[in-house]
């Protein structure tokens, strides 16, 4: 059964093999049901009856989508800008609300300074955030921190450009 994406778009599923034979069919109709096994599968709309009870229960039990947070830093430091302090509280709440959470912390810098220094700074920013979360009681085994230096700017700039938007840590909670 194929459903519309949460974002409102529509993906598709290709039938690459059926009954042991190569196949070349694409199921692309949202809210449709297809009996598989034939080389040219017949797809039917869900119609007025909609989801079966078990299908609805299955969809309800899907985990929530991953959620992303961005924290910004003062130039050349691992100190958050004042506005980002509130984001920490929201981040903590999001992790606490999830069952079996996992947290990925990725540090970034702007292009001021050498690439090597920025590699170190980006790791330090990520670790600063991870250490704060550990201090809030979250287990380090569910968290990881990496730094990407100045390699993945939010806003592309020339070298040695002071950019508040690029001095950041992105935290993905899943």
């Amino acid at each position: 059964m194929l459903l519309p994406d949460d974002g409102g778009g529509q993906g598709s599923v290709a039938v690459l093999e059926a009954g042991g034979q190569p196949a070349d069919a694409v199921i692309a109709a949202g809210n449709s049901r297809t009996k598989l096994g034939d080389a040219t599968p017949a797809t039917k709309p869900l119609g007025g009856k909609g989801l079966r009870k078990e299908e609805a229960a299955l969809l309800t039990s899907l985990p929530p989508p991953a959620k992303s947070f961005t924290l910004y830093f003062q130039q050349g430091t691992t100190t958050l800008v004042p506005d980002s302090v509130n984001v920490l509280a929201a981040l903590r709440q999001e992790i606490a609300a999830r069952s079996g959470p996992e947290v990925e912390v990725t540090g970034h810098t702007d292009t001021v300074g050498s690439q090597e220094d920025n590699d170190r700074l980006s790791v330090s920013r990520a670790e600063e955030v991870m250490n704060w979360l550990a201090g809030q009681g979250f287990d380090r085994s569910v968290m990881s921190a990496v730094g990407r230096g100045e390699r993945e700017p939010k806003l592309a700039t020339a070298d040695n450009v002071d950019s508040a938007a690029n001095r950041r840590v992105e935290v993905l909670v899943r």
């Binding site: 290709a14 690459l16 042991g20 598989l36 899907l62 985990p63």
Partner: protein
């Protein structure tokens, strides 16, 4: 050049990741739900991490949900048996491949970064069909 007011001593650019081989994490379970790994049977519980090759099994009253490191999400219904036979993901490049085998029962899927990375990078095999997932949400149901 800017002097950085940092406590240094950080040798590596990439901090050690504690769990490189982990491909997914269990989020919720109910009823009979287990992971079969190399002849061992582990009780499924929230927070348990999965490895490539793991088989997820639920009983008549069982359910299980999990999220993969590429953000793919699964929900297994009762009486289901699902194996993650292939899984490879590069977090930096956000690319990878994945093959899931649904032998029995029902599986809801919301695809993640792997399905977006290349055409048919994410595949799902049922007893009679091989599917290529092209960025979407769907349910696979395999009758006994």
């Amino acid at each position: 050049m800017l002097r950085l007011p940092l406590g240094l001593g950080l040798a590596a650019l990439f901090a050690a990741s504690p769990a490189l081989a982990d491909i997914a994490r269990i989020k919720t379970t109910s009823g009979a739900a287990a992971i079969e790994r190399g002849g061992q049977k582990l009780k499924a519980a929230p927070g348990l991490t999965l490895q490539k090759g793991d088989k997820l099994v639920t009983g008549k009253d069982g359910r299980m949900s999990l999220t993969f490191v590429d953000n793919t999400r699964f929900a297994l219904g009762p009486n289901s048996s699902v194996s993650v036979s292939e899984f490879q993901y590069d977090r930096t490049r956000q690319k990878g491949t994945m093959l899931t085998q649904v032998d029995r029962g029902s599986l809801a899927v919301v695809s993640g970064k792997i399905a977006k990375s290349d055409r048919d990078a994410m595949k799902v095999r049922t007893p009679n069909t091989l599917l290529g997932v092209r960025g979407t949400k769907f349910i696979v149901d395999v009758d006994k």
